[in-house]
Symmetry: C2
Subunit: 229 residues, 2 copies
DNA sequence: TGTATTCAATTTGTATACATTTCGTATACG
DNA sequence: CGTATACGAAATGTATACAAATTGAATACA
């Protein structure tokens, strides 16, 4: 793939993941072709690929739109994620990371830096790459297809629900970093059961955080200080 | 999508599934564009879609080739299939088929006819559509992505290993038909546990049949009629 | 006022011509 | 004789021009 095209591909992926292109928002062919200095033909090929990867949705006669995140889809996401995360991590550990543990450590280092710097977008992207690479380590194309789609939505949900200014958010982020370190160790050691255990705990953490934002604690009534149901 | 293009898409899918295009075989752009009366631009878009669905493999500067079926991939196939088949069937049953049970019955009827007529290609294709539809009934795009890829390889493996002239093959095909009927009943009734049970038994039947062809019973020695190890 | 219909403007889809890359073959050289 | 290199034919990748379809607004009508 020509560098211009893969750059375009990567940029659009990033824009979708960071919500620079919001779910459901349309992508303007002519404008993007102009912006990246390519003609519409290769741009449309990039669209096809993004569509196949689950980043955008392409329907005949309609403009390309970033994949939506409606309620049914979120329900399916929460339903499917733990199974696929556990299965891919197990395989990755059984292969002892397929010799790619150094890459994983490198991404983790960048993730760590981004969290300390408080850069939510960067942190989310490196977190995405971290879990994506574990999927590649599993070396199972069938499960990877499922995992890749899950990760797109997971990253976007995290972006939506992440408030960098939150008071105890810092502690949660710290636990995410530590979880990653433990996952790396378990994968490198080939300890599949432990890798799965950590992964499911990691998932539970993320899920709870997202659920808290979907259904936040009820506000206190400023006039009558009793707790609401 | 214009009818000409979706026809082209469906035809190429069929050719790959029936091994009319063998695994690893190259697809000639110019020839296919000529054959279907379209220009190379829409043909290449169809290629992109087939690539994303797992039917063909597209690499820059190389011609499109039908997906290979090497040993590592087959290993992953046998490893992953039961999990995804069980999960999708469970969801389909929990949704009671999402109102699409009639479609499923229609496909099953055609599958039945094809088996009785001994048309292996047609039988394999309707079997493919049968399981594909169960995937749609599950209504989970993450799992569907995995299932679709599994089914492509499953159908091609069946094509490879199916000998219509086999003596006791008829009984096995009969059991496959009956399994399908039971799966329809369980899905329509919303009996998820039973649907999963039948699906796993159905899988075991198919797996055993494929394994028998990969590692066939040893031949008898015509000179010394003792059984070999 | 609300709804249906027509038409222009915009956008998407396709064809073709051209640029670039790859692959096979022939030839030169070690 | 085997290997490396250079060339040419053929295939892939891109740009542009044109055709078809969709969108939105303005107008006519109930």
């Amino acid at each position: 793939m020509t560098p211009k095209k893969s750059d375009l591909l990567e940029t659009l992926r990033t824009r979708v993941l960071t919500l620079a292109i919001a779910p459901g928002a349309a992508l303007d062919e002519a404008a993007l072709a102009e912006e990246f200095g390519v003609s519409r033909t290769p741009l449309r090929e990039v669209f096809q690929k993004l569509d196949s990867e689950g980043y955008i949705s392409l329907r005949p006669g309609r403009s390309a739109v970033a994949s939506s995140m409606d309620m049914p889809r979120m329900r399916q996401f929460f339903q499917t994620a733990p199974m696929i995360y556990a299965a891919t991590t197990r395989l990755a550990a059984e292969h002892r990371g397929a010799g790619r543990v150094p890459e994983l450590r490198a991404i983790q280092a960048k993730f760590c830096v981004a969290t300390l710097a408080g850069d939510a977008d960067q942190a989310a992207l490196f977190n995405h790459h971290f879990h994506n690479l574990i999927g590649e380590m599993a070396g199972n194309p069938y499960l990877s297809a499922a995992l890749d789609r899950l990760l797109i939505d997971h990253t976007r949900l995290s972006e939506m629900f992440f408030s960098p200014a939150g008071p105890d958010e810092a502690a949660l982020v710290g636990r995410a970093v530590s979880d990653h370190d433990q996952m790396i160790a378990a994968i490198a050691a080939g300890e599949a059961a432990r890798a799965v255990e950590i992964t499911l705990a990691h998932w539970a953490l993320s899920r709870d955080r997202m659920e808290r934002f979907v259904r936040p604690d009820p506000l206190e009534d400023p006039l009558n200080r009793e707790a609401l149901p």
